[in-house]
Amino acid sequence: MRTTGITTAALAAGTVLLLLSGCTPRDAEPAPTSAAPVDESSLVAALPEATTEVGEVTWGLVEGEPRTLDPAAEYSFVIPNLCESLLQLQPDFTVEPGLATSAEWVDPTTFVIDLREGVTFWDGTPLTPADVVFSMERNRVESSPWFPAFVLVDTIEQTGDHQVTVTFTAPDSTFRDALSSAAGAVVNAAQAQQAGGAFGTASGGILCTGPYELADWTPGTEIVTTANAEYWGGAPLTETLRYVFVPDGTTLTTALLEGEIDGAFNVAPGSRSVFEASDEGRLVLGPSTASFSFGPTKSTGAGANPDIRQALSLAIDREQYVQTVLSGLGAPQKTFTPPFAWGGMDAADQYTDAYAALPDIEFDVEAAKALVDGSGEDLSVPLVVAIPAGAKELAQTAAIIQAAGAQLGLTVEIDERQPADFTEIFFDPAAREDIDFVATAGYLDSPGVLGYAQQFLLPPDLGGFFNWSEYSNEAVTGELQVARTTLDPAASADAFIAAQEVFAPDQLQVTLAGAYHLTFLNDGLTGATTSVAAYSSPWALHLGAE
């Protein structure tokens, strides 16, 4: 007979838990209902260059471990520090010479690339035009994610000791800027051929020219890179840059706050308050092309109906979305092409004016209901939104879409898919059959306005790889083709803007918000690129101590 003691204890255990949770210190007084607004002009694209050497920096990759470091196969924040592109994307999204000292059109269909002399790979072998031709040809196959940049290319040939010439079937206004992304990344041809299928993996390795060289990759644990003392632009001040994989945002937050990890990109916006209160490091807000959106996955069902998308768009309060999902670290965005994407382009002013002229985003549930009622869709069929598993912001996004749907009498179901299964959505029509929408966080890795427009609006044979709802508008197709094949920046911009006026209201992607590029960096460190350009250029080149 052991009795009342345990009863009391059992009840006490529960009450203690409840009491404790009510009594701990809280951040930001009564929990932040609205986070402090951010002045867009205060965004920082890069931190001041470091002046002092530092032994080792540990960088957290919330995206998880890369499957490969092959720039032609995948992107990750590791690659741009290892394998450089022909042109170098600057933090402010302008394009400067990189491995190429010059890359220019000599006539409407001929593009000449002059290579920097004296550049060597990590093993000391010189960079040759053959390596450049090899690397570009690897991207010019249909299975490459960079294939769209090369669709108009006819030939790629060595035309001198330090020169490569690319000829085109038609002029291509997007090609030069694309070379600043991983589409223009150069690898060592001999090593790549020798490694064969293992190229880029932990066993096969990689050989490039970038400011850091691959020293060691322990799968599942870490990737270690060391400063390339022979780097043509001067050796970086950080001796060892070690990448660890922390796919869980909360764990990454803890690790950064405890100083176990020195820095990371894409940290959880939800942890804004603790980052800002940290005495270990600082949260840097940078400009970005990243945006959150959702779009249709097939040509049938209510998702393919522009009225339904418009209605869902009207039923989501964008300001509240930015507060909830991004903790205020972003801003509503009118269309899928993010303003930062054209910030460094010649015709920037034209694009900016056209963006300003687009209708403002409305929040009007009544109007949305009317649209749904008039759509003629069968509302009893649930709409399924696919999101990648483990992405908290997208899980919240899906919940918000679901709630918006519920207000309009639409049943929205959420299908959380594993990263591998989620990627399949983009390759395999069968994987899209059971879903109506896919919600994503995307970004543009190089300057240009045509990226999304071509993928979402053109017929598949013209590059509309993600035009799953079979959108087809001859005027839009025509103007976009003109924009692509017109080398004159102003004329190209005119064509794009004409198309944008037509396609913007159809919301092929319901763009929910643009997100800032978030970097958390340990105090004492500086020099990192803190804009979205970190995806494409050696962001750790100037990394070091203050």
Binding site: A9, P25, T251, E258, E260
Partner: protein
């Protein structure tokens, strides 16, 4: 040891080997039962050409008869070739090897905590009177309802937010730093098992205290401490040892939760990650490893029990 014990022991060890063999077959079958084609898993995201498919099938022996595939896989245990990860495309062994150390250390730490506090509190409950017994009983009742993930979030919350005495992320570097980092994870692993082992110890010790030979020893005037050491605890230990295999194998499994919560890159977090990414070959090998741990520890426990108490050698009563 008399021959009867040896024969019985040999029979038990044989039975454990058979268990090991059969579990490996069960685990191997996982890949056969998995919906979808392993080829597309290996090709991952890309559309493989017929030549690629043929190459993948040949490389991973997918065209062999099932039994041959099994032999190849199980034989890999001895040759160090345990298959290829779907996700990382590297040998599973290369993925697992660097992670074993930290998980073993974590589990060992937890085992020490469990042994000290579990057995200790069980003995206290059995021998130090009603109040102590009551107190331990209350504590263990609560402890048995405190799973690793609950203890983990409580510890993270308390130590990350309020106290800050122990790190709540990562595994640290160097032995002492590792122990420091693993303290909270080990506690979160240990709590439920401490309570469990405390109960078992108390039951076994109480049983012995009331046994005839202890009564006899007491009547013969042997000192209490000596009685306890030589008679009570020694005779109670087989019951404690009998659950050790299941306990430690369980700890290895549950370490997945502690590792996830505290951001430790060990075997458990690899298991979780691999499962989430449907990386069946990795999950298979880790599962097999845990079965081996279970079987080996049970075999060791059987031997230990046979040495301590030859009469007790009979089919185990686990958990």
């Amino acid at each position: 040891m008399n021959p009867r014990v040896l024969v019985q022991l040999a029979r038990q060890l044989g039975s454990l080997t058979l268990t090991l063999f059969l579990s490996s077959v069960v685990i191997f079958c996982a890949v056969l039962l998995t919906p979808g084609d392993p080829v597309s898993a290996f090709a991952g995201g890309t559309r493989p050409t017929p030549e690629m498919i043929a190459a993948i099938r040949a490389e991973h022996h997918l065209d062999d008869p099932v039994w041959l595939q099994y032999l190849h896989w199980a034989g890999g245990v001895f040759t160090g070739d345990l298959g290829t990860s779907y996700v990382y495309r590297t040998d599973v062994v290369d993925l697992i090897a660097p992670r074993v150390g930290i998980t073993v250390l974590l589990v060992a730490y937890a085992v020490v905590l469990i042994a000290v506090f579990g057995v200790g509190s069980g003995i206290v409950a059995a021998t130090r009177g009603r109040i102590a017994d009551r107190a331990v009983l209350i504590a263990t009742s609560i402890g048995m309802a405190l799973p690793t993930f609950v203890v983990a979030i409580l510890l993270i919350w308390i130590f990350a937010r309020v106290l800050g005495w122990f790190p709540v992320y990562g595994a640290g570097e160097g032995f002492l730093d590792e122990l420091y980092h693993l303290t909270l994870p080990a506690i979160s692993l240990a709590v439920l098992y401490i309570a469990y082992l405390s109960r078992i110890t108390r039951g076994a010790v109480v049983g012995q205290l009331h046994s005839e030979h202890v009564e006899t020893a007491r009547v013969r005037g042997i000192p209490r401490a000596r009685i306890f050491r030589r008679h009570v605890f020694l005779n109670a230990s087989p019951q404690i040892l009998a659950v050790s295999g299941a306990t430690v194998a369980g700890l290895f499994a549950v370490s997945a939760i502690a590792e996830q919560a505290f951001g430790i890159g060990g075997l458990g977090s690899l298991l979780t990650e691999a499962a989430a990414r449907k990386d069946v070959p990795v999950v298979q090998v880790i599962s097999l490893l845990l079965v081996v741990v279970f079987v080996v520890l049970n075999a060791l426990a059987d031997v230990a029990i046979a040495i301590i108490d030859p009469d007790s050698v009979k089919p185990r009563r686990t958990a």
